[in-house]
Amino acid sequence: MQNMKLKLKIWKQRDASSRGRFVTYDLDGVSPEMSFVEMLAYLNEKLVLKGDEPVTFEHDCHEGICGSCGMYINGYPHGPVKGLTTCLLSMRYFKDGETIVIEPWRAKSFPVIKDLMVDRSAFDKIQQAGGFISVAVGAAPEANTIPVRKHSSDLAFDASVCIGCGACVAACKNASAMLFVSAKVSQYALLPQGRPEAKERVRDMIAEMDKQGFGSCSNTGACEAQCPKQIKLFNIARLNREYIKAL
């Protein structure tokens, strides 16, 4: 098996109030079959055994669905390959001898906790503001009582696959959360079950988004380009329509 030697420039930061800096690590013996997070775990294993401090980063499911992982890799959220989370990014996309620059999400609303780990609880706050349909357990009608146009249901599904990783915010020069919010608003707006609260939902979620300090939409589409789940920009258009209707 081919071995790769890499130079890793990784952002190290003790906590939110400390100053961070880049630390360079030379890493030998990387296999092209590793995923990016396995490569970092391999680095950490070596650091721990040497008595150095490992790099703090988040990862969990390793199949691109939990949304834990996420870091800038050579300037791109989740790295240079389209449609992949960091955990599914294979090292075969990198070259032997390459220098890889790794940074945490940079956004005021996502403060750094340590190294590459950031606080994304602002997303939870937005969800809590209105990202739900208020039907209590026990109150639901029989599932087939309300037919849903397949096309609408499919579009709702396409929006609902958001994993809440924050790459859209990280990619945006305004650190806007519009793609994230639009995905949730769209999912519910497209389903008849979501219509009764559509107005309150979009108003409350947008208000919370602003309160959490996310910027305005930059209209550059960087969010769509970097979304590992390839959530489409037209959801933002729908968000704007829903918002105007709700005013």
Partner: protein, 638 residues
């Protein structure tokens, strides 16, 4: 020994749950506010339980190790969720679903519990649909279903290949609503370190704040564990890498019984291991077996690329051995059949530890588009990991540790042997017997959380309405916190030369080799010796860097690892004790002439509920399984 009372209501099977609900004690709405409930875990059992209890008006505190409840590993469930709707008019019913689960579990589950989960299955689909889960639909606007292994009806509701994500996010949205309402308080980034028992009742937990390292005390009138399974004990598994057994293990050491710990489902289709650095095996949904055909070359060592092997040189061994169910046999059967072929030298791929899952015929018949619509994201994920396009050549798959049927022993009310401590979802042992059928885990988790626990917990809580808020300065909290801190300090001070992960890899290998898909007495005895040695070595050679009062992911791993090293031995002990084969537990000494699992009902038709006994060997408590409504049969899928 404890006296096990499963509290199964009297009466005919189909009336038990209705009767139970009619007779259960109630808590009046004004009193609910005064009662605190802790829920640990926010997966497809914990999030529903927390939101349902919040909606009822209880004061709920929810804990998870992730940064947000939406990341619990239920999010990764792929194929679907079962319900007895009979939308396909193919003869499904509550009884049929019940029977399939009992049979699929190889007659090692409790009839009453299983019937109840089948009964509530339809409500789960109604509820998820109402809260905006986009299940797949027909053009007429109604919901559609697909088939899953081990059954002959189509009852699995799904959202492409990411049903778990969709239902979990649905549950998370309801949980978020309750946070807004103020009935639920979220405590993310917390690891539960211990359970606090006061006067014999579960009254709180000790948790570590994973950001600050602070050791926290949290009290409640009742504690619900929804902490999932322990499949990560194999190191390589389909679980999230941080999934762990610690909460359940701590409950066990505080007196809750651990039932059938050796019942572990090895899922037949995961992406095979590719290199030694791999930390996870990615699942490829069972739903793929609806359209994919499993095969290996007929000739040993046939190294031709799969597409160049002609039809007559292929062995579709599942279709050959099990003509009635074909590629849709239950998971335990499919896994063992794959192992059998690979052990016999017919495996494919660079390691020989893989079989083909081929979509060629399905694509020819239905077109690439139809296959893409059903499994698009799975094909993509497979390509991301392996670089192979499965529209063009077969996937390679191999079994991997996946789901634990074993778990904390609970009665019909989902309460453990510690009053006030409940276990729901995968964390308990109750519904799947010795093998779980596909798409039943989301069903059981959500059913426990939404529709069962909210009813059963009132029997415990009704007499508690006069109990004031539990104080956290009680000596029991002091003691539990002291033990937790001492454990951490002990781990930090070992000062050895090996990381927690390296111990995890070694334990995983022992468990996989000796307590995995196939077990025998000699191997299990060997495993027990090896685990004991490894545990000793762990406490001499472990190295944990950093400090305790900051983010310290190595410390988190070490804490979980110490528990795995104890749990592993209990799994082995349980596997040793059960000298029969049943479901996923395959004892080589007990098989039929054609290599299928051979149960020994006269001796082993019981739940093995293990009781912690300090440094001594755990005590075995037996809950006999009485089958009043189904006839015990040798399971056959032929």
């Amino acid at each position: 020994m404890v006296t096990l009372n499963s509290k199964i209501p009297e009466g005919p099977l189909e009336e038990k749950w209705t009767k139970y609900k009619a007779n259960a004690r109630r808590v009046n709405p004004a009193n609910k506010k005064k009662l605190d409930i802790i829920v640990v875990g926010t997966g497809i059992s914990g999030a529903p339980a927390a939101s349902a209890l919040g909606e009822l008006g209880y004061n709920v505190k929810v804990f998870c190790y992730q940064d947000t409840p939406r990341r619990a590993h239920s999010v990764a469930a792929q194929g679907g969720i079962n319900a007895a709707k009979n939308y396909k008019n193919d003869g499904d019913s509550v009884y049929q679903l019940f029977y399939d689960i009992i049979k699929g579990g190889d007659f090692r589950a409790r009839e009453a519990n299983v019937y109840r989960i089948a009964e509530v299955s339809n409500q789960i689909i109604d509820h998820f649909t109402a809260i905006g889960v986009p299940f797949a639909r027909e053009y007429g606007g109604t919901l559609t279903t697909r088939s899953f292994g081990g059954v002959q009806v189509s009852r699995t509701f799904y959202s492409r290949g990411q049903t778990g994500q969709q239902v979990l996010l649905g549950a998370y949205s309801s949980l978020s609503r309750q946070v807004k309402e103020g009935t639920v308080t979220m405590y993310p980034r917390r690891d539960m370190l211990d359970l606090v028992v006061v006067d014999g009742k579960a009254r709180g937990i000790i948790a570590r704040n994973l950001v600050t390292g602070a050791i926290e005390r949290h009290s409640a009138h009742a504690v619900v564990l929804a902490t999932g399974g322990y499949g990560t004990i194999y190191y390589l598994s389909t679980l999230a890498v941080n999934s762990n057994a610690s909460a359940a293990w701590k409950a066990y050491k505080k007196g809750a019984l651990f039932a059938n710990p050796s019942f572990v489902q090895i899922h037949p289709s995961s992406v095979p291991q590719m290199n030694e650095f791999q930390s996870k095996l990615t699942l490829m949904s069972e739903s793929l077996r609806n359209d994919g055909r499993v095969w290996v070359p007929k000739n040993k060592g046939d190294k031709r690329p799969a597409n160049e092997i002609p039809e007559e040189d292929r062995d579709y061994y599942l279709e050959r051995r099990y003509p009635a169910f074909g590629n849709l046999v239950p998971r335990d059967v499919a896994s063992r059949a794959a192992k059998e072929r690979c052990d016999a030298g017919y495996g494919v791929g660079p390691t020989g530890l893989a079989v083909n899952l081929d979509f060629r015929d399905a694509i020819k018949k239905q077109g690439k588009k139809a296959i893409e619509a059903k499994y698009g994201n799975l094909f993509e994920m497979y390509k991301d990991i392996t670089g192979i396009d499965s529209y063009e050549e077969p996937m390679r798959i191999y079994p991997a540790g996946h789901y634990t049927m074993g778990g904390l022993w609970v009665d019909y009310e989902l309460m453990t042997t510690i009053p006030g401590l409940f276990a729901i979802g995968e964390a308990n042992f109750s519904d799947h017997g010795a093998n779980r059928l596909g798409a039943s885990s989301l069903m059981q988790g959500a059913g426990d959380g939404y529709f069962i626990l909210p009813y059963t917990i009132t029997n415990f809580l009704a007499p508690e309405i006069r109990t004031p808020r539990i104080k956290t300065d009680l000596p029991e909290f002091d003691e539990a916190e002291k033990n937790a801190v001492e454990n951490i300090n002990r781990l930090m001070s070992v000062g050895g030369t090996e990381t927690a992960s390296s111990f995890h890899k070694r334990l995983g290998k022992i468990m996989w080799d000796h307590c995995g898909m196939s077990r025998n007495e000699q191997g299990l005895l060997e495993a027990r010796r090896m685990i004991r040695e490894l545990r000793e070595e762990f406490w001499k050679e472990l190295k944990v860097p950093g400090k305790t009062d900051e983010v310290n992911q190595e410390l988190e791993k070490a804490i979980r690892m110490a528990d795995f090293l104890e749990l592993g031995e209990l799994m082995v002990l349980d596997a040793l004790n059960r000298k029969e084969s049943c479901g996923a537990h395959f004892r080589e000494e007990s098989q039929t002439p054609d290599g299928e699992a051979q149960r020994i009902d006269e001796q082993y038709a019981y739940v093995a509920a293990w009781e912690y006994n300090g440094e001594n060997e755990p005590v075995l408590n037996r809950e006999p399984l009485n089958f009043e409504f189904v006839e015990l049969k040798q399971r056959s899928y032929k």
